[in-house]
Symmetry: C4
Subunit: 245 residues, 4 copies
């Protein structure tokens, strides 16, 4: 069995695992479970983590050139190895968007919109969870409950930045930077999509001032072909005339 | 009577109702009327609300497939059912812009500008009203009078976000998020419109290096047609020659 | 004499007046002159103001349809009538940019850049002056010296909005909103110019896959014309043939 | 020897010098070395500075028209003369990106991305260093350690601007303004690149509705040439017919 095959098999299951992980992670962080209460959730998270590890190992084993694959997928290693990067395991959910689209056939611009909106929403939600997870225990932290964390995430991704809530830990700020860059990407994509739409709409002027299409040219060259046919036809006739003479 | 007909009849009246509602709502919130003073306004708002309900019911009754229409217009139901979404009733005013334009025939870009400016202005004004409405009664709220609310709305939609005024209630923050997203849309539309304009202007170089238009091609194909005509004409003459022979 | 003529005469002088006004206004605000010290400056400002009034009156008198011109130029009236709008008198300096360009012949994009940079710089400087002018006397104001005002203007036009300095008066906030909108326009223009440049650069691919230009078509239609000429020539010859027969 | 030659020789060495300077400068600022500890670093910085001076002098000496070159390169003079502008010496590192690209051949858009990401990262890092360098000694400064400085730089270049950290010195604010303008350029470039990409992707529709290319036209004009050839051929034949008659 090779990697491609494994991916085809593991793709959907791992997405389910991601959703389970997202649910468990959300419950743990939002409910801020302590002691025994959180044990159950911890177990679930541990299992999902184990499954991600297995996926990583299998991929490593199945890789044709293991060394090369290893170096090229250090991030994947980091994601399963470092608890801090746990939230990145949810990146897999972005592939979910791809599937959503395959079902609903769309234009290119439509797909961009789905991706942008979906990724932005996921980024906001996950960042809120992650930042709350790292900030709450800290002394002097302002982001200590989920509604505030969500509010902070929105304020940040839209680059509004009131500053009423700000992360104070290194981890929290790393999440914030990711969110800000996400905001710039969001702003950029929205603008770019609008621009391409407007540019297109503006170009739709009356037909005769539109750029000549290949189709038009084809029609023209057919005319020329007819001409050649007519000439070719006349090339016979004269000889006949002469015979008659 | 079907829905289309009803809409044609109800479109303008409902817009008037929206304007009345906007006026009454503004007075109530800005003047912060209490007790008897606000009764009159409350009555007007109640009447406008009743009219929106009637419109919703009529639309529901006239719908060909009622079930489908119901599920597809849950938002409309929410808008008339939930007091929190009251401000959304003013969305109808956006259609007013459409009418403004029909009177003044414009280019596509011109229409975009009118929509963007109009919607942004409406969004800022209504958000200021709504946020003031929900924040003022709260203990520790910073947005407690209309000028500050309006200032906050501008600071937010432009994504400047000083943070000198920020909503503290969930409703207020939901309004703020709407405003931020509106800001991103605003920024995007402004940029996109400018881009399409500049792209267009830059392309206007000297004529002969411009893209060939369908018009040009048509002229060319006419030339070819004349050619065919000339050949066709000559196809008769030879026979005559022969007769003479 | 008509308006066009008057404008041609008054254009440059009024620009000089604007520069003088800008200088005097800057000195008065930055140096925060009090009592006798400011008298001289006040006189100069009064004179420049008088000249603007004269220009307005002359334009009104010379207008073909005075009523129409009056209603269409209410802003001009407000600018000379309301001290608050004094800074807007400097809008005339934007025309200075137009002249700067006429000297340096540029591409369309180049002109856009000059306008954007010039207007943004002017907007930042004038807003800083104006906001300082209105805020300094107020109790509890944070913008009380020019460097801070300039810093605030930059923080605002770039939509960063730290919130370390914010206007508290209505006039100050109106100036701030103008600056924010200027910021959105700035961001939009920068992006749009970059976009048109990149789009153009990307389109420069190998020649034969480029859009057919009018020039190309013209060459083609000349070919067809030659063809017609050749046919026309042959249309004589046959008759001669017959004669010979 | 002329300037071009000198540049070819000095280009790489000066880049190395820049890297050394960056390293030394980073160590000095981040470690906040005092007294003897910093002497070594100071020496290195002094040497790199000396090399920049030498480069400037050599360039001045080798310039064909010295006076003209001097006035056109006042900034270069300022960069070596004013300690405040020290960080600008690192601008040279941007040329490093150019080299990075020559190695990896890319599309135009790819190059833009490399430049934007590289410059933004360099700008953030250097601004953080520079602002920390000028702010730390000040009483009442908030940016007093490198992590905070870096955080502030990210918050500023993304135009989020929480305001939890802000420069208070004139130098610090000048650096901040540079960073804000960098942020606008960053936002603009990201959006513009995305826009050109989306516009391109959207245009890829089915072939026959695409703009006619020069290649297509060439094929057509060849058809017409064949036609002319055929006519030319027939122009001989008739005479022969007559002879036969």
């Amino acid at each position: 069995m090779d990697q491609a095959r494994w991916r085809k098999i593991s793709d959907v299951p791992l997405m389910v695992v991601s959703v389970v992980f997202l649910a468990a992670y959300s419950i743990e962080v939002i409910a801020n479970l302590q002691g025994h209460a959180s044990d159950g959730v911890e177990v679930i998270i541990a299992i999902t983590w184990l499954l991600f590890v297995i996926d990583y190992v299998v991929n490593l084993v199945l890789a044709e050139r293991r060394g090369r694959w290893f170096w090229r997928h250090l991030l994947d290693l980091a994601i399963v190895a470092l608890p801090l990067l746990r939230p990145l395991r949810l990146l897999r959910l972005v592939t979910l968007l791809a599937i959503l689209q395959r079902t609903a056939g769309r234009t290119f611009r439509g797909r961009v919109v789905v991706y942008v909106v979906g990724s932005a929403a996921l980024l906001v939600y996950v960042s809120a969870l992650a930042v709350l997870d790292v900030e709450r225990p800290l002394h002097g932290a302002t982001i200590v409950n989920f509604p505030d964390a969500l509010w902070w995430a929105f304020v940040t991704i839209t680059t509004v930045g009131y500053g009423d809530y700000t992360p104070i830990s290194l981890e929290g700020r790393m999440i914030a930077v990711a969110l800000m860059l996400g905001g710039i990407a969001l702003l950029g994509s929205v603008t770019a999509t609008l621009a391409s739409w407007i540019v297109e709409r503006v170009q739709i002027t009356e037909d005769s001032s539109q750029a000549a299409t290949r189709g038009d040219l084809r029609r023209l060259s057919e005319q020329v072909d007819e001409l050649k046919a007519m000439l070719a036809a006349r090339d016979e006739s004269p000889s006949r005339e002469v015979d008659k003479g």
